[in-house]
């Protein structure tokens, strides 16, 4: 699926890095940003999906390059920013989407230390590193930081309490950064999506009724598509259309969580 063609040229001349862009929501956001005219760095841990994601964008006439990036490694994030500057001379938007898979639903008393550390590493620590690594360029270009959080980071999650905690932590961080970086002309916002992703597919395999129940409780009657539904919101946040928005979290969930 492609994004609405009204996005075309909204991000012309911009350069964006999207972490976790080898699949799922990150891939959809990268595709939508490329369609909007941005040159996109596909920052992904595995070339097996990062390269094809970049190639798919190029096949559609967009500009994208794969850069191997494990967001738990600060050096990799710095390298992704350097890669952006080396190939395209600038960076306007850093989109941090990568996350460690939350694993099967379980109460917190059954979650081990390794899982806690892994979730924190890809969420709070990696957000810090992405923000810090990108700040110089974002400030120079009046750029933006977009963080992919979750409805679970707003209303909590009974099934994935750890995931809700780290996603909530990202929101506390971004609101503070919005205050801190506003005077520098850098905007900081978040998207809380519900979308069809490999992670959602895996959860549905374990719990076959999950998708039907989720759709049944979503006013728009479907789960979001990463490119057509989530991607355009990232384009909007990175574009001048959102120039007076900072510190906000946009729930892109078909109306699933109306009490946020």
């Amino acid at each position: 699926m492609t994004a609405d063609n009204r996005l075309d040229r909204l991000l012309e001349d911009q350069v964006a890095i999207v972490t976790g862009a080898g699949q799922g929501v990150g891939e959809g956001i990268a595709a939508a940003m490329a369609q909007a005219g941005a040159r996109v760095v596909i920052a992904a841990r595995r070339s097996a999906n990062g390269e094809p994601a970049a190639q798919a964008i190029r096949d559609r006439g967009g500009q994208a390059l794969f850069c191997r990036c494990d967001v738990t490694r600060r050096d990799d994030i710095d390298a992704a920013v350097a890669f952006s500057l080396q190939h395209w001379g600038r960076l306007d938007a850093m989109v941090h989407n990568a996350v460690s898979p939350p694993g099967p639903p379980r109460p917190i008393q059954e979650v081990d230390d390794e899982t806690i550390a892994s979730q924190i590493a890809t969420s709070t620590t990696a957000t810090f590193h992405c923000a810090q690594a990108a700040f110089g360029e974002l400030r120079a270009n009046g750029g933006t930081l977009v963080v992919l959080t979750s409805p679970a980071g707003i209303e909590g999650s009974g099934h994935l309490p750890l995931y809700g905690a780290v996603k909530g932590a990202q929101r506390g961080l971004l609101k503070s950064l919005a205050r801190e970086w506003g005077p520098h002309g850098v905007r900081v916002n978040a998207i809380a999506p519900v979308a069809s992703t490999p992670a959602m597919d895996a959860a549905t395999e374990v719990n076959p009724t999950l998708e039907a129940r989720l759709v049944g409780r979503t006013p728009l009657g479907r789960i979001g598509d990463p490119t057509a539904d989530i991607g355009p919101v990232a384009v909007f946040l990175a574009s001048g259309l959102a120039r007076h928005m900072t510190g906000q979290t946009l729930a892109v969930d078909g109306g699933r969580y109306l009490g946020l």
Binding site: P107, I116, A117, T124, H129, Q132, S157, A165, S176, E180
Partner: protein, 223 residues
């Protein structure tokens, strides 16, 4: 407050607001246990809980000194970030993991105490806000899963002055509010916040869980 001498509370954290909350709870008749800002790992949790048959209340207000240190994000080292955000977040999660058994035995209550910047952000306090907002949301997740075990979980948001040095707190107040507290004062933690914590453990609030209460004299009115 009604005296409840047979009830046991664990208050976690060093300095204020943990100290003042402890003072207020003791004044209300609670038997008090304390854990400070030291590591919360399986060993410390095991040491704190196994001798307890039950635990009626756990209050988390553990934010080590680096959390409360005002510093722009671009000036932080990774080590400082870990100490100010990741470690407190992880410790707050581990505490819940260890507290589950004793709280279930008592049908107890857990309360995460957080600063205003968790919800509203704080210039120079990104790691503190991150850890605290993570724990505020975590309280809702716990409420959803622990309700069937008879455990209620809440978060209480306090004015930054309960956590920060006076100059930093004044700066936060200036940044966040355009008016004075409608009730004429920022609440005293021992005298006016502890009774709220105490009340949340009573049958009067038996139908309430997962609440995020802002106890700041009306400075900030979210939603």
């Amino acid at each position: 407050m009604t005296s409840r001498g047979s009830r046991t509370a664990l208050v976690v954290g060093s300095g204020d607001p943990a100290d003042s909350l402890g003072v207020g709870l003791v004044a209300a008749g609670w038997s008090l246990l304390r854990l400070g800002d030291g590591p919360i790992d399986d060993d410390t949790v095991a040491a704190a809980f196994p001798t307890l048959e039950h635990l009626d209340l756990v209050v988390h207000a553990r934010y080590p000194a680096l959390c409360r240190w005002r510093r722009e994000l671009t000036d932080l080292t990774t080590k400082q970030w870990h100490a100010a955000c990741d470690e407190p977040l992880e410790a707050g999660i581990r505490l819940a993991r260890g507290a589950y058994g004793p709280l279930r035995a008592a049908g107890g209550t857990m309360v995460y105490v957080v600063p205003l910047m968790a919800s509203a952000g704080g210039d120079g306090f990104a790691p503190f806000a991150g850890a605290a907002e993570g724990l505020r949301v975590f309280a809702k997740s716990l409420a959803k899963t622990w309700g069937e075990a008879g455990i209620r979980v809440h978060a209480i948001t306090l004015d930054p002055s309960a956590f920060l040095a006076p100059d930093d707190a004044a700066g936060m107040a200036e940044a966040n509010s355009l008016h004075d507290p409608p009730l004429g004062r920022v609440p005293d933690v021992a005298d006016e916040v502890s009774p709220v914590v105490d009340a949340l453990t009573t049958d009067a609030f038996a139908a309430l869980t997962g609440a995020s209460l802002v106890v700041d004299g009306g400075l900030w009115m979210p939603g």
